[in-house]
Symmetry: C2
Subunit: 578 residues, 2 copies
């Protein structure tokens, strides 16, 4: 059975010891009066929903999957009740705008709650994250009427959200979409086209589904400059703001997937469906990116949640399973064998998971802090950091999440490959996070292209300078300085070489993103070791930090060498030679 | 649809240009009169069975899986016909002893055929590899009567094989098995106990199933020194050597697994079943290792087959799928977009797959060559090399196989996550190879403990010396020398540090195995680049070699740093701190 319990102790450490949120929030008027007790209560309550409501229906969700029957999609047994608990607890509106009945809580806290929900039940929380994302997009780009109509319903989870971007021939390349929007005399539009891979596009959990759909207006410019964004609700809101007449859109089928089988992924057919322009004409992609950026961070955190869930199973199994003897002689002499923890390589696997997961949690919160500072304090630097780090969070967290899930499965041996224990499900569920919301290759291109080359590396260098300011324990100081210097060196080299080689950036982008991720994790581990209390929990932190610096950070040396290669190395093969 | 075509051109290159098998075989009397045409015919025929018979039932095998009904196991539609084709073609007896109606072909060739079969249909070929492994074990340890009874039937596939090691509480730690064998007055034994995870333990493909079962005799020594090996056939052979009376063993259930769903994995109950001692009393584990070593190499090659299958899908998709434009301007200006091959990062993923897969193919053959020289020419050095390299082949090939399958899936984007295209099945199928036949952690321990520390690194150093003798192209010579020097340095450091730290070996074993694997691949890539012809195929080889040296081999630098860490780094965490 997959059991999940929220990492309460670590969360409190990050909130109060590492990031000292009291100090951060004192400077953000909207949060200035949050007490520690309030924050603890939110975390505890979120943990309860995750562990006691969402986790228990995780495995049956995978076994049953969703079913499609003539356009009607039925979710697995228990999903409706768990969704209702999530909705009624106000979790979809946790960081929502209080003017429209949101809770107005910091993103820093939202990241932690999202991790719990992802970890407890990835397929189920997908219905939640799309709802949150839709509300963020409408809050940013909607008119007053749209905000009043949609936000309270989305925050309360009565209505849920979906985003319609992909078409069969247009995935990463959205400039090619064919969905059309025709203006209607009443100021609305008529949307026609077929979208694929629509997560939560149709299901039985909410009263209404609010589709945000990319489409082209008549005569719109070619490519991505001619895309507009529309709100296309499953039921058109009536004059009272309730779900009214059924709109002409429907699920044509659902996908059979490797994992997240409790999440319904639809082909959506829009047949002259009523839609409402969201934001400006032909600015749809930019508007959608408000939602995408939220979803990208969230999907990174999905990887983190999967890693935490997987670790919890693996460490419990390693402690219980008796197999073999310690290389230094029996540790459980009265038993038939020692437990798996006596084996150094099992420890290596578990420590790798801890090292990535605990740093990942801190990293997600750090990005959340930049978003909070940017949004509430108009801190331009923080906003720039959040934009720089969003693709890193999406890709690095989801890559490490999958890696950790695979490692946890490995700890189980053969028992990790059979369905009974549930660990193989975590691997299948985690895999999607590397793919959707822009593949991790696309994230790496976004990082190196838009976020680094465009300003000659200035934002990244500013971040490194800021990170260098922190005091860290002596034992890690030199390695950390070396890591910063390495990243500065690699960035400068890429900026220079890319200036006369348009294929250079793409050829080293993934190595570069990994190097950024590892460097930030090194900084976070050094800081966490410094902030760790003098107890069992703190000892584990310091020891895991040592493991990270000795066994994981050396990968950065290889990444520097790899990123030093010319683009020829990948470009010289002809199409025929492949 | 998963389509598979055997990599004929690369195979011929490896056989005739790289390894020059004519020269190798001239010195092995049993193979001295093999013509190139014969070898080509075997490869072509194997490729036909793989691509035209086995591959077409691969996806339906995954969809249907096996079913269990009151002890009777039914394999997916089409498996029986495909198994019969494999059997009737004599493929299970390809490297079998001609005295007992085997084909007597070299292992070098066997490795290539196995790769095709694994690649075409992993779940189906599992029934084959267990059959081959059983025959190898009986040929090595059986008496004349046993060989006459079982080998012709196994070589012909009329009977199939299975190995019974694992019990619920005893996986890696076989010393704890509880299955018992009581001597019977007629010289046979009565076997009682329950084995789990028995691949091909029960199914409907063959007339009989020959279980090789580990059990303990009354009064046997504790632990692994008290284990004996028994032949326990599903039907006891009658006086004519045909399948006779039903033996008292049965399948209690089959596992529901992440992948290889067409392969039936049984719980096997032995209830006073008739068995026959194979080899000496209490020498069962050593005898079983004859089979295990074969299976380990084969499971490594499973990873290779999966990687090849995955690459074939990914490269076809990358050529067909139009998405985005080249960073240097449109390459398919008349089309709506360029194909995926214009994107440097897609090329990086494809080249990584090629670099691992083509070197892996050469590596498997190299191990096969050592086995041939050891077996047929009593070449002690070659035998020692084969023992050294078996765990490397099992683990490094299966790790890279999984990695390549995941990369191929990534090339497909969202289409890689849905079942339709079949790529996600490759990932699920490939995952098991890292786990069974001894997890890859166990392989790494075998390598560092039994194969390196036991002789102070002498065999490995001898192999490195032999590899240094080869002429390689100037452009790779220095990097290759550095790689050899690095491996020598790391080996010496581990040998020295392990002498007074019993936990050191286990704490760095996986990094060490990866370093050995990368170094051998560097040697093979340099040699392949040198032997490549002056044509399109050869150009691709040279370019992939450059990619390997620039982008993959740098990982060795990180592995050296990681393997330099003390065991404290993993051992210092207390059980409570985990």
């Amino acid at each position: 059975m997959l059991e999940y319990s929220a990492p309460q102790r670590d969360i409190e450490f990050l909130l109060f010891d590492l990031f000292r949120v009291q100090q951060v929030w004192k400077n953000i008027p909207a949060f200035a009066d949050f007490s520690d007790d309030l924050v603890r209560a939110v975390v505890a309550e979120g943990g309860k929903v995750a562990g006691q409501v969402m986790a228990p229906v995780n495995q049956q969700g995978d076994e049953q999957g969703c079913t499609w029957n003539d356009g009607v999609v039925t979710t697995p047994t228990g999903f409706k009740a768990a969704y209702d608990a999530m909705a009624q607890g106000g979790w979809m509106g946790l960081s929502g705008n209080p003017v429209y009945e949101g809770q107005g809580m910091p993103k820093m806290l939202g990241c932690l709650v999202e991790e719990m929900f992802w970890g407890a039940n990835t397929a189920l929380y997908l219905y939640g994250t799309l709802t949150v994302g839709s509300s963020i997009c409408i809050e940013a780009h909607g008119n007053e009427d749209q905000k009043n109509t949609y936000l309270p319903k989305l925050y309360s989870g009565e209505w849920s959200g979906a985003m319609g971007l992909t078409e069969a021939h247009a995935g990463t390349d959205l400039g090619m979409i064919r969905t059309r929007a025709l203006p209607h005399s009443d100021g609305s539009y008529r949307i026609s086209g077929t979208k694929i891979f629509i997560t939560s596009g149709e299901h039985d959990l909410s009263q209404n589904i609010v589709h945000l759909v990319l489409a082209k207006l008549p005569g719109a410019p070619e490519g991505t400059r001619g895309i507009s964004l529309f709100i296309v609700p499953k039921f058109v809101p009536d004059d009272d703001g309730d779900a009214g007449a059924r709109n002409s859109l429907s699920s044509g089928s659902i996908e059979h997937k490797m994992g997240i089988r409790g999440s319904a992924t639809s082909v959506m057919n829009f047949d002259n469906a009523t839609g409402y322009l969201l934001g400006e004409e032909n600015q749809g992609l930019a508007c959608m990116f408000t939602m995408m950026n939220y979803e990208r961070l969230s999907v990174g955190i999905q990887g983190l949640g999967a890693a935490e869930l997987a670790y919890q199973q693996a460490v419990r199994y390693a402690k219980d399973r008796l197999q073999g003897r310690s290389p230094t002689g029996p540790k459980n002499a009265d038993g038939p064998a020692d437990n798996l923890l006596v084996h150094p390589d099992v420890r290596r696997m578990l420590l790798t998971q801890r090292a990535y997961t605990e740093a990942g949690r801190a990293f997600g919160m750090f990005v959340g802090m930049q978003l909070d500072l940017g949004k509430y304090n108009n801190d331009a630097q923080a906003l720039a950091f959040s934009e720089l780090l969003t693709p890193v969070a999406k890709a690095f967290l989801s890559e490490r999440g999958f890696e950790c899930a695979v490692l946890a499965q490995q700890v189980f041996g053969g028992h990790g490959y059979v369905k009974e224990w549930g660990v193989e499900q975590i691997v299948r569920d985690a895999r999607i996070a590397q793919i959707y919301e822009g593949t991790n290759g696309v994230q790496a291109l976004d990082l190196i292209g838009r976020k680094v080359l465009r300003d000659g590396g200035a934002t990244l260098l500013a971040l490194i300078d800021e990170m260098r300011n922190d005091d860290v324990p002596e034992e890690f100081a030199q390695d950390l300085t070396d890591a910063f210097d390495r990243l500065v060196r690699v960035t400068a080299s890429i900026v220079e070489r890319a200036s006369n080689d348009p294929e250079l950036a793409g050829s080293v982008s993934v190595d570069f993103l990994d190097l950024v991720g590892l460097t930030i994790y090194a900084w976070l581990w050094a800081r966490m070791a410094g902030a760790a209390p003098d107890d069992e929990f703190g000892n584990a932190k310091r020891k895991t930090a040592r493991f990270f610096f000795s066994r994981i950070l050396p990968g950065a040396v290889a990444l520097e060498l790899g990123a030093g290669a010319d683009s020829d190395v990948v470009m010289q093969m002809t199409e025929e030679e492949f």
